[in-house]
């Protein structure tokens, strides 16, 4: 197969990159190993878009107006009927993974992107030739430009090119999100916390249950249950190790089953509750990051630094989750620019990156990984890739 632009991964960044490249006139192929786009926002049931709006504003103000971040935000509002919500100093948009997957299908179809689902990149050579595995068969794809939107910098790893990964202890912790239905009435997070504590005291739950919290999905009776995990279930946390990933998945299910069974017995309104769906995969916040022509740092983000060549704006605080005891938020003085070079690989032509694996340090990643910002960096990478292929 041949394309102008090949995008690896159809998460929030890859979706935006593919739509933008195709709209710019490039023949675009989008590779995704799952059967739907959306990445963590669908496969891992992450259900709020952060980073779409400026911090501290009285009303929601788009931080990347005119980009796919705004377009996807607006289309999601129409799909769910829900608007932006303010929490402390920031705004976020509730989103539903079911709507997100369907919205992504429409946008990819409208833009004329060739989508290859159930296809995993396994090798890559500069120039560009990609080897993709689908159902035990290899497919070769030739392209003039490539965007790595895999979240895990798989292209850097495949090419043996410069990338980094925080050490096991400081990596942002993973979490397991599942869908629960049959819940009557409002969610009272505080009361549920109390019932979980009682469940731990009674010996029905382990202390891992203290990582559990809930948010109403916006649909009748449906709740998302999120369990923050230590990631150390089988030793050191390594989101690129399949044994570690297997332990995350199994632990997430085990704890969620026990917590929902406990709430069913004790919490008013939860008598008829049941787990209605598992995620396709446990949520991973951070793994490999690229080293590109420029490196965005946490200091840049905190100082609200702007760049002459910036291609997107980061507007979410540093959300540090190095322990599974909840987030620590660090608020920047204002929105920061993301320089063009943070989306361009060094030492090779026609290779771009976007989303949570772009070129930045651990602290900056704590801001730029949110989906609103991923849409914006995806949009920018798609535009650059189309221009470089044209």
């Amino acid at each position: 197969m041949k394309a102008d632009v090949l995008i690896i991964g159809a998460g929030s960044a890859g979706l935006a990159a593919a739509v933008r490249a195709a709209r710019a006139g490039a023949r675009t192929i989008l590779l995704e190993r799952h059967g739907f786009a959306g990445g963590m926002g669908t496969a891992s049931l992450v259900h709020t878009f952060c980073g779409l709006y400026l911090q501290d504003a009285e009303t929601p103000q788009w931080s990347n107006p005119g980009t796919l971040a705004e377009e996807i935000g607006r289309r999601m509002e129409l799909a769910t009927g829900l608007g932006a919500v303010k929490s402390g100093r920031v705004w976020f948009l509730p989103q539903h993974p079911v709507e997100f997957a369907a919205l992504a299908d429409s946008m990819l179809r409208e833009a004329g992107v060739e989508v290859l689902f159930h296809s995993e990149l396994v090798a890559l050579e500069p120039g560009w030739r990609a080897r993709v595995a689908c159902r035990g068969e290899g497919i070769d794809i030739e392209a003039r430009a490539v965007v790595d939107a895999s979240g895990d910098a798989v292209a850097a790893s495949a090419l043996g090119m410069g990338h980094m990964m925080s050490d096991s202890r400081s990596l942002q912790r993973p979490a397991y999100v599942c869908g629960v239905q049959g819940v009557a009435g409002e969610i009272d997070g505080l009361a549920l916390a109390g019932w979980i504590i009682d469940g731990i005291r009674a010996g029905d739950l382990g202390t891992a249950a203290t990582g559990m919290h809930f948010r109403a999905s916006g649909r009748a009776g449906e709740v998302f249950a999120t369990l923050d995990l230590a990631g150390m279930e089988t030793g050191d946390y390594d989101p690129t190790d399949p044994r570690c990933l297997a332990a995350l998945e199994a632990t997430g299910r085990e704890v969620a089953m026990a917590v929902v069974a406990c709430l069913k017995r004790s919490a008013p309104g939860w008598e008829g509750a049941f787990i209605s769906h598992w995620p396709a995969r446990a949520g991973v916040r951070e793994s490999r990051r690229w080293i590109g022509q420029a490196l965005l740092t946490g200091e840049d983000v905190m100082a609200g630094r702007r760049f002459d060549d910036e291609v997107a704006v980061a507007s979410w605080p540093l959300e540090l989750r190095e322990t599974h005891r909840g987030p620590r938020l660090r608020y920047p003085v204002g929105p920061a620019g993301i320089p063009r070079g943070a989306l361009i690989a060094a030492g090779v032509d026609g290779l771009f990156m976007a989303g949570r694996c772009l070129s930045c340090d651990h602290e900056a990643q704590a801001s730029i990984r949110v989906m609103g910002t991923c849409f914006a960096t995806g949009d920018a990478a798609g535009k650059m890739a189309a221009a470089s292929a044209g």
Binding site: G88, L190, A191, A193, G211, G326, R328
Partner: protein
């Protein structure tokens, strides 16, 4: 196990455990939920209170009245002794 508990000790404990980001100079009436305490932090808080003061809070205590400020928490801990 300590004998009584003051709002200052609760503030010190919250800082040591990093459960909420408290601004410098907060007093006993600071709103902990406004400072970012969420339901997960509440669960950890209840576990830590039992470890430090030997007082077991339960589902009935999981309210803003009990957990909302360092002072209200300290009062509940003293009561539980």
């Amino acid at each position: 196990m300590e004998r009584s508990c003051t709002a200052e000790e609760v503030v010190e404990m919250l800082r040591e455990e990093g459960l909420v980001d408290l601004p410098a100079g907060v007093d006993g009436d600071a709103d902990l939920f406004a400072a970012g305490m969420d339901s997960m932090a509440v669960m950890q808080l209840i576990v830590i209170i039992e470890e430090r003061w030997g007082v077991r809070l339960g589902a009935a205590d999981a309210t803003r009245e009990v957990l909302g400020t360092p002072a209200s928490l300290a009062a509940r801990i003293c009561e539980g002794k």
